[in-house]
């Protein structure tokens, strides 16, 4: 059996090693256009920033080590130009030797990844992008000669680049067309990241695209000019599917190659994996792109299983992702609110702001978590979290619960590891379950920060149940103050009509809402309290 693999990194090399383990006698040829295989793409920004000191740390394997260990025939600087499906061959250009040749195969695996999108603005040829080690070398070298940088795109890679150039001592401006950083998050959840970037000295420009790139500056749509010795484009990636498409393999509207659950393209002898392919979205069941290392590694291995003749069924994708931004962590899984609203899908939302570990044990820091829940089935549709501690843990637990199709209410039953250094007796994840169950069974109801104005226009009153001192320090304009501990005795003072009850985070308001509803009042909790309301309004520029 002759297996040819195009692309020798996450998906491709995982397929190669696994084929070797399952089919000891297979002939396995890996064709890689670049200089390196098996490198740590995800480490590139930190090499540029200097946190990863030695470039060699990025090179997890070499053609030699892969030959010795796995008897793989790894050919770097070998680019596949075309696929001839009828002949079962690929046309290869050996950039080292400067020759082209034809390579035959029984099975072909495509793992050509995704390429950074570069907009066609004037001067774009000066912008650098980051995909592989060679790119990192170019950027590191350019950074050493630069004092100022503009990074376009505030997604994961853009933020990592902004952080790392900032760490290197450059003066960094981050430019993002959408109105927020980290578009996979909802705006009120991304707000702390924005605040943190600015506090740390990164200048952030939202809602504006790049109009043109000049010799030493970048000019934005809004007319402002930013100094830019260095320009990085990180506005997204697109499946590198030219080769596949030219061979007549089906691609979707986003450019991703269409594969079935066993990762076969429409040609059953050709498998495709990783950033190159469409994945099945866990929420909608529809095709989408999830350019992440975990799925790429998994799919590479599964394609090998399929080639070895095994029954294979790749699962859905949730797109779980995490980022560290100058010490702050943000993570996400599944769908966000923006997407649910755009799709018109009925949902419930809860926001909490708990401590990451017990408050009585030193060093506890706050965390913000948002859970998106199917209003019909109570299933988890997505989650987001931001904080300095335990963020990745909570998102991983929620991603697991989501993958298991647990109901949000069932989170209250999870037995999670508790000692005061690690969490709270009711872990934040359990707390999400409490809140979700309270909504599911009608114990309470909540309202989102962006729904307050409409509710007020319809006659609702905002009631702040925090203390008078808290109210005096900061309050929602127009709110009235009636502290929780006095509420029971002062119910008569409340105006008629709907009451939007809030406190700092939602917890005291919950007890207040229960009391008011018990007394027959139409009361709802302002979800996430003043903190979420403030973040949301800051995010839309209304504070």
């Amino acid at each position: 059996m002759k297996v040819v693999i195009v692309g020798g990194v996450a998906g491709g090399m995982s397929a190669a090693t696994r084929v070797r383990r399952l089919v000891p006698d297979a002939e396995i040829i890996v064709l890689e256009r670049g200089e390196h295989v098996s490198f740590a793409n995800c480490g590139l920004p930190y090499y540029i920033g200097g946190t990863i000191e030695h470039r060699s740390a990025l090179l997890l394997q070499t053609p030699e080590s892969l030959h010795d260990r796995f008897a793989l025939d790894v050919r770097v600087r070998h680019e596949v130009l075309t696929i001839d499906r009828a002949a079962q061959t690929v046309q290869v250009r050996d950039h080292r030797a400067g020759v082209d040749y034809t390579q035959d195969w029984d099975h072909l695996v495509l793992s050509t990844g995704a390429a950074p999108v570069v907009p066609s603005v004037p001067g774009a040829e000066r912008a650098l992008t980051l995909r592989d080690v060679a790119d990192a070398d170019v950027i590191a070298e350019a950074a050493a000669r630069s004092r100022t940088a503009v990074v376009a795109g505030a997604g994961f890679i853009g933020l990592e680049m902004a952080e790392n150039l900032h760490t290197r001592g450059l003066s960094v401006a981050l430019v993002e067309l959408s109105g927020q950083v980290l578009p996979p998050l909802d705006p009120e959840m991304a707000q702390p990241v924005l605040d943190h970037l600015r506090t740390q000295g990164v200048s952030v420009h939202l809602g504006s695209g790049i109009q043109r790139i000049d010799a030493t500056t970048v000019v934005l749509d809004d007319g402002s000019t930013l100094p830019a010795d260095l320009v990085i484009m990180a506005i997204g990636v697109r499946p590198d599917s030219r080769l596949a498409a030219a061979a007549g393999l089906t691609t979707g509207p986003d450019g991703g190659v269409v594969v079935d659950a066993s990762l076969r393209t429409r040609d059953p002898r050709i498998h495709a994996v990783g950033d190159l392919v469409q994945k099945t979205d866990a929420v909608s069941g529809q095709a989408g792109l999830v350019p992440l290392a975990g799925p790429a590694n998994r799919q590479g291995r599964l394609a090998a299983d399929a080639i070895a003749g095994r029954a294979v069924h790749d699962g859905d994708s949730q797109g779980t992702a995490v980022i560290s931004v100058l010490g702050l962590t943000a993570a996400v899984t599944g769908w966000n609110e923006k997407r649910l609203r755009a799709a018109g899908r009925r949902h419930r939302i809860v926001h909490i702001h708990p401590l990451a570990h017990a408050g009585y044990y030193p060093g506890a820091t706050p965390l913000s978590i948002k859970l998106l829940i199917d209003a019909q089935t109570d299933q988890i549709l997505g989650a987001q979290a931001v904080g300095t501690e335990g963020v990745d843990k909570r998102i991983d637990v929620l991603a697991t619960a989501m993958a298991a199709r647990m109901r949000a209410s069932d989170l209250l039953r999870l037995e999670l590891a508790y000692a005061p250094q690690y969490g709270t007796a009711k872990d934040p994840v359990n707390m999400l379950g409490y809140l979700a169950e309270n909504l599911a069974n009608g114990t309470t109801a909540n309202i989102q920060w962006h729904e307050v104005e409409a509710a007020r226009a319809a006659g609702a009153t905002v009631v702040d149940v925090r203390t008078a001192a808290e109210f005096a320090a900061e309050a929602i304009p127009g709110a009235i103050n009636l502290p929780l501990d006095e509420l029971r005795h002062r119910l008569g003072e409340l105006p008629p009509g709907r009451l939007i009850v809030h406190c700092q985070v939602g917890q005291r308001a919950h007890s207040a809402v229960c009391l008011l509803r018990g007394r027959g009042r139409d009361a709802v909790n302002l979800d996430g309290g003043l903190l979420t309301w403030r973040a949301g309004n800051l995010a839309r520029g209304e504070l």
Copy 2:
């Protein structure tokens, strides 16, 4: 509705506050024998050690705050002496006023917790135990006057006490009757904790009980005498079910009160929760004790729901727990191997020793994880982990997967948050799924550290596929060395019969085993490699 609650901490007070939220007009009386309610039991050791500086941090609520906020009638130093079920009353002793009185109720909730077990050895009256704030005061005061301490019991509370007395500067000896520290873990998983304790200067005495306690020393069964200005007993807790049992409520063999899924005792008007009650074990479906704060809080809330007339179904218990021991973290969920073997339950095991985050990013530390799998259904039966980073995260993810009744193989599909600071592209949890699937579908087979000798006696050969240098530095006695990278060409050198293949952790051996099995050899992987083999043999004193 008049609700009387006995015990005002985790379970009891959670019930009280939730009844208030669901039944605004209920009369709620909390009777607590001790001086404090709503205190952080789990913080007590750290208050003694000085990490938690202020005693007030332990007191999360006071009778006054609970009255103001929740209109609870909280009576401290009120001990319930008897329950009269027919009359629906309790007999109460008010230790402050020095009077007894009768209190009637419509619903009674028992959350009297568990009491430390004290063995009846001579001198035991000098030993101190830790359950509440008053105990902590006594111990803190005694510790201030002591230079040496003996802590009996190397479970969670015993280890926390050993750590904290050590941190305070006492010379600490830890005595444990069983042959290992942290009995909820298997011996090879507890071994790093033992090593760490010793390295940090705690003297540990295993396999020996306390014979007697003298004025300034403790004498062990093995005859040795340990200096002990202070003696702490932490050999376990037992449900404090005297009150319940005296009232004719059913208790199990372990002393736990028997409740149904809605936390009702055999008297439907009496609910019982927390450490006091038997829980349903998630693996066996049988009754067992799980004296932990998470379940106590959850059950308190659920009992309130039941009292409010809701349909309630408490889930199974896995007993997920975590501990920090002088900077090392150990955590566990579900069953361990000892228990599975004792129960004769067919299982599979995998051990891994991955890095907690990507090796190419600075600061990555190793982690050891053990997964216990049902051999018939591939379901997760339990997990253990030890390390300095990301231990609680992995156990929480595994506990969630276990609660969701996920198959172990499905762990490979979990999409967990990956950036190099937080994990690896194949997270350790995914890796467990890979290993589990390889066993489930027969891709490979493994053998445990304690099975090696029997297999050798039956003719098997141990083959070490690490490098010659690694082999020279440390090897399993009698093993032969054939490095993985040479194996393919030197297959003929291997002796006939079964081959037990190993490397440092199991990963290289896996590729070797695949190759050997592909060539028709009967090869198995020594699970967890040299590291697990060494830990296991150290644990049983054979190294």
